[in-house]
């Protein structure tokens, strides 16, 4: 048991956790390169263009070429900029997007930190993402970035409220705030997923009337929360040139881009965990239970990645298909449409839980 006791000492525990973090971050960053390419390819496909197709077969290496280019260019800091905050903002965006992955369970037991308020942790980290944009816009000491950061502040605060309410409906249904607990609650097949009421058997199926709109609202709010089109007002290139990104160049710009992409993929992971069963397969095949834990882990990882890819495809399609919202329309949608609907949904789910599930 010599090896075992080493991993429980402070030094061993730190090394072990660092190793786990590396195991999450490195494949994630490699996957991101291809997510970035997929985003551009899908966008191009909708507009009947070819997209990046020069570097590598089908342009597969385009993101790596971009990476090299970004890193090798000179970092330009504007003269009147607040230098420290200016450089802190992209680092903050990137690291906040990354730390969210600490609580994401990729497969049964495959999670860096299985804390029992995991979903609140994710909400907290995504609500902190606004600081990168605000700080970057303010520190640039320029008009367009400042307007972009002001828009972003108002937008992200508004849509957080409805995301919070949607998350409350899921917490009510599953009775736990641990992400692993939420996924295990949806075991058994796609009809047990939270989007279809999250009940065992057909007990809760009527709740899908409430939960399907909740999943849609979560998806739309996730678009707004990550500044994706049609809610990319902070960087609306037709009005604000590029918003908070105007003064950024080279690797700070790269950190902003990667940070935003990571939080988009994180949102895709959140949707699949909260509503679509995370790593649960849509049909519970009995032969899978006889596999070893590692094979089962990769099986779960396969389904989880598949769901993330599907929602990323949806994100990319929305970017290609839907025109940008006007600012007042954005505010109206957040406060006058989503907030009342999600509030009523919380009431309905709570009432269902009290008067149907407990009484029955």
């Amino acid at each position: 048991m010599g090896a075992n006791s080493f991993w429980t000492t402070p030094v061993g525990w730190t090394l072990l956790t660092l190793g786990e973090i590396m195991l999450v971050i490195l494949p994630l960053l490699v996957a991101l390169a291809f997510f970035m390419l997929a985003d551009r390819k899908i966008w191009a496909g909708v507009q009947m263009r070819k997209g990046p197709n020069v570097v590598g077969p089908f342009g597969l290496l385009q993101s790596f070429a971009d990476l090299l280019k970004f890193i090798l260019k000179e970092i330009i800091v504007p003269d009147g900029a607040d230098k420290f905050v200016f450089l802190l903002a992209p680092v903050l965006t990137f690291s906040l997007a990354m730390v969210g992955w600490a609580v994401i369970p990729f497969a049964p037991g495959w999670v860096v930190a299985n804390i029992n308020v995991g979903i609140l942790y994710l909400l907290a980290m995504s609500s902190l993402g606004v600081y990168g944009v605000i700080m970057g816009g303010w520190a640039s000491n320029s008009k367009y970035p400042f307007l972009g950061s002001l828009r972003s502040a108002a937008q992200m605060v508004s849509y957080e409220v409805s995301i919070g309410f949607v998350i409350i409906t899921v917490i009510l249904l599953t009775g736990t705030m641990s992400l692993s607990g939420i996924i295990e609650h949806q075991a058994g097949g796609f009809w047990n997923w939270n989007v279809f009421g999250g009940g065992h058997g057909l007990n809760n199926l009527a709740l899908s009337v409430v939960m399907i709109p909740m999943a849609v609202i979560f998806f739309i709010s996730a678009l707004a929360e990550t500044n994706r089109p049609p809610f990319d007002l902070p960087e609306a290139e037709s009005e604000l040139v590029a918003g908070h990104l105007v003064e950024y160049s080279s690797s700070p710009y790269l950190l902003f881009m990667i940070g935003e992409l990571v939080s988009i993929v994180l949102m895709c992971a959140m949707i699949s965990i909260l509503f679509f069963g995370g790593w649960q397969a849509p049909v519970d095949f009995s032969f899978v239970h006889q596999w070893g834990p590692i094979a089962q882990g990769f099986y779960g990882l396969f389904w989880f990645s598949l769901k993330i890819c599907f929602f990323f495809f949806m994100f990319a399609m929305v970017k290609a298909v839907v025109p940008r919202y006007r600012y007042d329309q954005l505010m109206r949608l957040g406060w006058k449409v989503f907030l009342p609907i999600t509030g009523i949904a919380v009431l309905l789910v709570a009432g269902w839980k009290v008067y149907w599930l407990v009484a029955a």
């Binding site: 905050v85 909400l123 002001l150 957080e160």
Partner: protein, 205 residues
Amino acid sequence: MALQAIAFYLLAAVTIVSAFCVVSARNPVHSVLFLILSFFSAAGLFVLLGAEFLAMLLVVVYVGAVAVLFLFVVMMLDVDFTSLRQGFAQYMPLGAVVAGILAFEMVAVSATVASKGAAAANVDPQAAIGQLSNTETIGQVLYTHYAYFFQASGLVLLVAMIGAITLTLRHKPGVRRQVIADQVARTPETGMRITDLKPGQGISE
């Protein structure tokens, strides 16, 4: 455990230093950023205490929403802070007296709690919680034992909100508003008019 001690001293030091920087920073935006850092480290201290629910709420509510609004306001304000600092020497003695009394009271309260209060009666406060997680415990206290007080505090907040809105609500005449229902209800009959123009004539309403 050594790791916890290191984490505690690190977080506590960051909290205190950044709280000091909130008042000493020259730039108000830097002050708010230090305030955020202070909140965040305080949330870390909550996690060390085992109160992870409170920690997450601190981050979501104070860092994620309240401090964003602070930052929003401070960035937009065009206040000349050098003129605000003019009377510093004049207010200094009064401020020092107030700060001294506050510090004395805080020490007195914590000393009393340590010797006679709940902390002395129950050496390990986590032991009393038992199997419940602290989210469930807070829920029980707030929504079961003190439900009426909770409702009353909600009403107080509602009154404050309505008060703030009525203080600032102004109906300007002549403002053109967008009514979505009206726009959706437009038809070719109501939305356009076909006029037969004779050559050499304009349209007069």
